[in-house]
């Protein structure tokens, strides 16, 4: 009895404080993937039956909706190319560094940790696809979390709502910098260290600020829901709702090592040289 309790305590100490199980933990990540896969089999079978036996009308309607959405997104992307070219030129005028271009890897969530005290997800891509611990993860609507362990073919992602997670962020409206912390509830984020005089209002969009070097800047983190000022407290109590659909997303994007944006991809071709410069 005492031996087993001591062994468990020692294991906790070695694992959490000393961090001596580095590669062993990555192996455990891979080893636990089949359990999530098997455990979610009934649910996925139901989804598969739904797809196979969907009526033709449903599929046609879905196809039409997706086409319309693709058209709208393509139209937006056209404007984006022009804007990013303009942005790059302006940044060059200001002598500031070029924005980094991120490569993304589409990945699927295999399972969510069943422990209510942890907000962890297991995804189906690992170091064989280029995933490394520390990479940021987004979904279609916002910042999702970060990779904390990368196995060979699966990785663990810590959600931004985990009670040990924090993101440096800023308010889009005025650039006020804040720290957004998870508190263990999947639909709630805490905004910390907001002085009562700071201009943060309900409805403000918080985006990652890029400070801290972990998350790239500009991704939506959450929307402020309530700001409560207590005159007896040094800071306001501010809570936000995550932008990412943490409890619903099935597909997510891992931001693989960003490389420098190549100007020829973004900038239009150089204008022809003026005729006066041409030597006779």
């Amino acid at each position: 009895m005492v031996g087993l309790v001591l062994a468990a305590a020692l294991l906790m100490l070695v694992d959490s404080r000393l961090g001596l199980l580095g590669s062993g933990r990555a192996m455990l990540t891979d080893a636990s993937a089949p359990f999530y896969w098997l455990g979610s089999l009934p649910g996925r079978m139901a989804g598969w039956f739904g797809e196979v036996f969907a009526s033709r009308d449903t599929l046609v309607a879905e196809n039409r909706a997706l086409r319309a959405e693709a058209l709208v997104l393509r139209a937006r992307a056209q404007r984006l190319a022009g804007l990013s070219a303009e942005n790059l030129r302006l940044r060059e005028l200001l002598n500031s560094t070029a924005l980094l271009e991120e490569n993304v890897l589409v990945s699927e969530i295999i399972g969510i940790s069943p422990d209510p005290g942890l907000q962890l997800a297991l995804i189906d891509k690992g170091s064989s696809s280029g995933v490394q611990a520390g990479q940021a993860v987004i979904d279609a609507s916002g910042l999702f979390g970060q990779v904390i362990e990368a196995g060979i073919s699966s990785s663990r992602v810590l959600l931004i709502t985990d009670s040990t997670h924090a993101v440096p962020a800023q308010v889009v409206r005025n650039g006020v910098r804040v720290v957004v912390e998870g508190n263990g509830r999947i639909d709630r984020l805490d905004v910390d260290y907001v002085a009562p005089t700071m201009d943060v209002r309900p409805g403000d969009l918080l985006v990652s600020s890029g400070l801290g070097q972990r998350f790239p800047g500009g991704y939506p983190v959450g929307v402020v829901e309530s700001v409560t000022n207590d005159p007896g407290e040094p800071f306001s109590v501010v809570s936000a709702r995550p932008s990412a659909q943490l409890d619903r997303s099935r597909h997510i994007l891992v931001l693989i090592n960003p490389g420098p944006a190549s100007p020829e991809l973004v900038l239009p071709p150089a204008p022809p040289a003026p005729t006066t410069d041409v030597s006779p």
Partner: protein
């Protein structure tokens, strides 16, 4: 000696894998906090049924397996499950004589101890997000006990086996 009371390695493995799969099966968000504490149910079941073969070592390994699958710190469930197995071994002779509601209360208490130990250990790594409903799983485990206990076998049979062995 009754053969049906002994645990075969195959049945132990099957039950352990089934409990781990049930513990990670995705549930809708509103019902997930009430996921029964399958591991405690399994450990109490095996300790009542085959205490000579299944004890704290088995419970420790089972807890460690779920720790590895859940992905947090390794060890809290191993600790909690070995304590549950110890308490169940101590309580076994009395539990066999108790009525079903009394056994359900005991299962609830054992599971609640495990959950408390688990949260307490997780607190060391800075996890503070303990919801007030964290004992819901213990409660549903207690209500699952009548079904599980049907498989344990009658007290007379267990005691006869204990006496013979």
């Amino acid at each position: 000696m009754s053969r049906g009371v002994a645990a075969t390695p195959a049945s132990l493995w099957f039950a352990a894998v089934a409990a781990l799969l049930l513990a990670v099966t995705p549930l809708p968000l509103w019902i997930a906090p009430a996921r029964p504490d399958w591991l405690t149910l399994l450990v109490v079941y095996w300790v009542l049924r085959a205490p000579r073969q299944v004890g704290m070592g088995f419970a420790w390994l089972l807890g460690l397996a779920l720790d590895a699958i859940c992905g947090g710190m390794l060890g809290p469930r191993a600790l909690a499950m070995s304590v549950v197995a110890y308490a169940a071994l101590v309580l076994r002779a009395r539990m066999l004589h108790h009525t079903l509601p009394q056994q359900m209360a005991e299962v609830f208490l054992l599971s609640a101890c495990a959950q408390l130990l688990l949260r307490w250990a997780q607190g060391f790594t800075g996890h503070t997000g303990v919801e007030s409903g964290f004992l819901m799983g213990s409660l549903t485990a207690a209500f699952c006990w009548p079904v599980v206990s049907m498989q344990v076998g009658s007290r007379r049979r267990l005691e006869a086996w204990d006496g013979a062995a």
